[in-house]
Amino acid sequence: MGPVTAGVLQALALIGALALAHIPLGNHMVRVYTSPRHLRIEKWIYRGIGADPDTEMRWPAYLRGVLAFSFAGVLFLYLLQRLQGVLPGSLGFDSVAPAQAFNTAASFVANTNWQSYYGEQTMGHVVQTAGLAVQNFVSAAVGMAVAVALVRGFARARTGELGNFWSDLVRGVTRVLVPLAVVGALILVACGVVQNFSGIHEVGQFTGGVQQWNGGAVASQEVIKELGTNGGGYFNANSAHPFENPTPFSNLFEIFLILLIPVALTRTFGLMVGSVRQGYAVLATMAALWIGFVALMMWTEFAHPGPAPQAAGGAMEGKELRFGIGGSSLFAVTTTLTSTGAVNSFHSSYTGFGGGITMLGMMLGEIAPGGVGSGLYGMLIMAVVAVFIAGLMVGRTPEYLGKKIGPREIKLAALYILITPALVLVFTSLSMALPTPPDSMLNPGAHGFSEILYAFTSAANNNGSAFAGLNADTDWFNTTTGLAMLLGRFLPMVLVLALAGSLAAQQPVPATAGTLRTEKPMFSGLLAGAVLIIVGLTYFPALALGPLAEGLA
């Protein structure tokens, strides 16, 4: 079996597994977010935080919950890092410097997991487990809660109420993420991922030097890193590290974990709005983009010209031999089309076009299928925009799922699609124009520019993956990427919840033969086209000067 066939078979196996697994999970999540009953442990939590899980919230109240909870998370995580030097169980590491502590706190609360530090050399057990791992769960649950609130906006009529944030948050953790993580962690351990609290081991190298290796609760962190589309690795090498991702099977399983919840949420969405087909139309768009990107990536990586790649059977630089081009391409596309940012290979070492594909994946807004929750709401916002333009062409005021897209709705959607391009372009431009930030580049020319463009694209879209090559641990990059992550996460949430509120208040318009059918393949195609054109037009000049210039050279 050649490496190309292996790559294709892996992709097919992945699609098959997701096709089976998303159905029970999608159905389960409908029950999670609609059931009136609370588990005992949930009642304890509500009592502990003093929240009433049964009050219905209008969008401002829901938003206040999201922001208050996340702000508290940033503060807690920042203090935890600043105090690491005096906390027990820290493997003797010092407190983290202010700029880096802010960056890391912002990064994990924003579900980005951009890391400007070396995990195994900076964070001890307490910060890793009580700080970072906790945020891996709750930041994912926040994203799912906001998505569910938007779905309720579509599903409900003549009410401003979007559900209860605390209940959605807690249930996302207790009923979805934790049970899945437990099962996933056991499978990972079975694959050979480490799970212990051992200290640092000094290991002799073949060439004579000494290397420091440490263990830790890796499998438990690894599973939620993928499942919650977080991406923050226990080790700096992330999923390329053999302790995090030892075998081709664990590699495929991790990709499966990344895609599982975002894919299943489309079914949850369909069921909650009363038409599974509406959910599948959205999923079809996501799937088409994902498959297209995988195909392009494999093609450019396998077919890259030059003597070294031809000898190796493809562009193997920066890729692990145990994953090969197929397993690496699948991982790279999946991690950048979701808001994960975990890596099992070095994106900087991909071919010019390959690097461009990872960047474009993030620039799409991470909606194919995107981060947990954020992928669904991002795609639904794009659907609102696509419906608005295409809906006019059938001669009616545009409507999606029976809800009219009027001035208020389009204002919120238009601002949403403005935010990340503004953050990416402005911060990249400032970094290029100021005298010192370009010093962080490892490479000259177009590749150097790509490093900075990639960093802000990753931060503003809450991906967290790094192109590698850029020294991001400077005050400038720690501060600006930190801001980009927070603004790129929470400004869109404000708009999504406002939109949800305005949709929920509407009386739905019954569908007739004159209504644009949004559950048809035609619409899925239209949506994919709208996503590609709007994003493509926004970033084309920047991409031309980075990956395109490199790829066409």
């Binding site: 925009v385 608005f388 333009i389 295409a390 006019l392 062409m393 059938v394 001669g395 009616r396 005021t397 029976g402 897209i405 009027g406 001035p407 389009i410 204002k411 238009a414 699609i417 403005l418 391009p421 503004a422 372009l425 402005v426 990249t428 431009s429 400032l430 290029m432 370009p438 020319g445 177009a446 520019f449 009386q507 739905p508 318009v509 019954p510 007739t512 033969a513 004159g514 209504t515 644009l516 059918r517 048809k520 035609m522 239209l526 086209g529 054109i533 709007i534 493509g536 037009l537 926004t538 970033y539 084309f540 000049p541 920047a542 031309a544 000067l545 395109l548 210039a549 066409l552 050279a553």
Partner: protein
């Protein structure tokens, strides 16, 4: 340049479309019109006017910047040429709007002539100028007077020439009380004397509103237009960011971007095509209604018309011809059809109602019975139809023949000691069940009084209505027939006409309840009406079209007035509403799709010098960087003018399902929008490369 823009007839060619007010020259753009609108287009360059269209305002600022820049470097022909084409882009946009507005101006001038200074004679004797009238004033108008203001006739009856507003020269009758009491200021009394109670302040009369409407002065942006403007503004900001951040990226790559080039790139990318034509599309949509003699009081109503999912249509005049007609003669046992026909014809000669005339016509057409004149039958005594007796007939040659309503004729036969044939009732009921109205024909002669047979009167559904309703169904619009008939009759006609539902024995309250019920389900409802008792329902409906012949209460309540008073027009109004939205969507899609080709022209031109690989993106093989940028800018400007006729006329609209319409419009405007600029820019580049010094 060969941009294929669909040239189409107006889609309103269904069989029932009235031809009385066919617009003249609709959709044709004459050079003279462009020339006449040019001064207005220049006037609109005022920044205070430009700012209302965010996209074009950005182009305006860009033009100013490049012009200033060119003054600093007067020898740079490229800067000057770009500046000139940017100004042209702005000017073309203004021209499109000015042409759209100009079409209304001519009509407004005609209306102004009708609004001459009038003198009002108060009923108490004094005279005041028409402009000093107040609501509630009573004024007298006699033959030859121009009515000084809008109002209701409270005394008298007069024939009035309303041609000033309707264009229809035949005079109409206006009388106190009832549904024909409204008079419009500016119309002229031809005969008799009426007393009018003024109902509208001067300056707010119907004719004043008409003037401001057709001129576009009262034009407010509609919700959908506002929404589209927001989306376009947001896209403009995105491209502004993309262009503003580009110099820092380019500097690093070693390419120097001048301000002129950056502005050119920006103008090419922002959605100028739709931005330039957006207001022209809206004005032209209103104008299309005006050309069909419909006045929409707000653009919002026109947009709502596109969304309507339930149409309430009055049976009489809309679905059926105004009157019932005789369709068959049915004999009772023992008589023949010819006998019934003969008796029916004789007895109807004295019946001047349309029903009576139709009996005579049927007898002639079906049984070849020559129409006999009343003078031919010597000694005949004619009994005319009256509402009291509900019978007509004739006494001649010892025979007394009667024809009329079942109850009246039966009573007449019984009075004379005659027998009512036992199958009479069965036959009459059969006709009623089929939706018809039975008339009995009876005779009294030597054999005594007896029923001869039954005339079957039925409503005649207008030709082509069934197909029309079928079309509406395909568009997802439900039709409900409103009638005062009993449910049985209503059902029969509803089935024949193919409407989806009917409301029988309808009272104004029933109509109102029906509208509210539909609206509670999220549907938008359109209806027509003319009487005062229609006013609440007209106000409740999302699209309420009042007939111009109706009362002023009805005209106030509706959001549209049909000057032709043709209820069928509701269907056309819906189509115009849809066409308006489709045109906006199509040009937006076209505009955005255009950008792809422009990037392929401009990006290689800007950066191929520093990254030679990028020249592979120059798939159009444009001759030089300057020519590439210039070609894109010129294409961007010219496409506006190319699309002006389409914006004014509207995209072709044919009733079809949303799916088919989307597929068709996506293919034409989406795919067309992708391909057209590649061809256009290449052609412009070929022409430019012939100029020495560019190629």
């Amino acid at each position: 340049m060969t941009i294929r823009v669909q040239e189409h007839e107006d889609a309103m060619s269904a069989p029932t479309t009235p031809t009385a007010s066919t617009p003249s020259g609709a959709g044709v753009l004459k050079p003279a019109q462009l020339l006449a609108s040019l001064p207005e287009a220049f006037r609109k360059l005022d920044p205070r006017v430009m700012v209302t269209s965010p996209v074009m305002f950005v182009v305006w600022i860009g033009s100013v910047l490049t012009t200033v820049f060119s003054f600093k470097d007067p020898g740079d022909w490229f800067g000057w040429t770009i500046s000139a084409w940017l100004w042209l882009t702005v000017l073309f946009a203004n021209l499109a709007e000015a042409v759209a507005e100009g079409r209304g101006k001519a009509q407004a001038d005609t209306l102004r002539k009708a609004k001459t200074d009038t003198v009002a004679r108060r009923v108490d004797g004094g005279t005041v100028p028409g402009t000093a009238l107040r609501v509630g004033d009573l004024v007298v108008c006699e033959a030859g007077d121009v009515i000084p203001g809008d109002g209701d006739v409270v005394e008298g009856v007069a024939s009035v020439d309303e041609s000033a507003i309707t264009g229809e020269s035949a005079p109409v009758i206006r009388e106190s009380g009832g549904d024909r009491s409204a008079v419009t200021g500016g119309t002229k009394v031809l005969s008799d004397r009426i007393v009018v109670r003024i109902t509208t302040e001067p300056g707010k009369t119907f004719i004043d509103r008409m003037i401001s409407l057709v001129e576009g002065a009262a034009r407010q942006k509609t919700p959908n237009e506002i929404a589209l403007n927001i989306l376009l503004a947001s896209l403009t900001v995105v491209f502004l960011l993309a262009c503003a951040t580009l110099p820092s990226f380019a500097d690093y790559a070693g390419a120097r971007l001048t301000l002129v080039v950056l502005v050119a790139l920006l103008v090419c990318l922002i959605p100028t095509t739709i931005g330039a034509l957006l207001s022209a599309i809206g004005i032209a949509g209103m104008d299309r209604l005006v050309q069909r003699n419909v006045l929409a009081m707000s653009g919002r109503a026109v947009e709502a018309a596109g969304d309507v999912s339930t149409l309430l249509l009055d049976k009489t005049g809309t679905i059926t011809l105004g009157n019932r007609q005789a369709a068959a003669f049915v004999p009772v046992r023992g008589t023949t059809e010819a006998e019934v026909a003969d008796a029916a014809q004789l007895s109807s000669l004295a019946d001047e109602t349309p029903e009576g005339r139709s009996v005579v016509v049927l007898a002639k057409e079906r049984y070849g019975l020559r129409e006999r004149h009343r003078g031919e039958l010597v000694g005949a005594e004619w009994i005319s139809f009256t509402a009291q007796t509900r019978m007509s007939g004739v006494d001649v040659d010892g025979r007394r023949i009667r024809k009329g309503a079942a109850g009246s004729v039966t009573a007449w036969v019984r009075e004379r000691g005659g027998e009512v044939a036992e199958d009479t009732e069965r036959l009459a009921d059969g006709i009623a069940e089929a939706g018809g109205t039975p008339l009995l024909v009876a005779v009294e002669d030597a054999d005594g009084a007896r029923i001869l047979g039954v005339v079957h009167l039925k409503d005649v559904v207008k030709h082509g209505m069934r197909e029309r309703f079928e079309e509406l169904r395909r568009m997802g619009i439900k039709t409900v027939m409103i009638t005062g008939d009993n449910p049985l009759t209503a059902k029969a006609i509803a089935d024949e006409a193919g409407v989806d539902d009917f409301l029988a024995e309808a009272t104004p309250e029933d109509k109102m309840a029906l509208i509210k019920r539909e609206q509670a389900g999220g549907k938008l409802v359109a209806m027509t009406g003319d009487g005062t008792n229609d006013a609440p329902a007209l106000a409740q409906a999302d699209v309420g079209v009042a007939m111009n012949t109706g009362t002023s209460a009805a005209k106030e309540a509706g959001n549209m007035v049909d000057l032709d008073s043709n209820p069928t027009k509701l269907i056309e109004i819906v189509e115009i509403g849809k066409q308006l939205l489709i045109t906006r969507g199509a040009l937006t899609t076209f505009s955005i799709a255009n950008d792809v080709a422009k990037y392929f022209a401009i990006i290689p031109a800007l950066f191929a010098a520093v990254h030679p690989g990028l020249d592979k993106l120059n798939i159009m093989r444009l001759s030089s960087p300057d020519s590439a940028i210039l070609s894109a800018v010129i294409f961007n400007a010219l496409i506006i003018m190319v699309l002006v006729p389409l914006a004014l006329r509207g995209v072709r609209y044919r009733p079809m399902s949303a799916d088919r319409m989307l597929r068709r419009n996506l293919a034409v405007y989406g795919l067309g929008g992708l391909v057209a600029p590649f061809v256009g820019i290449k052609l412009i580049d070929l022409l430019l490369s012939l100029i020495p010094g560019i190629g």
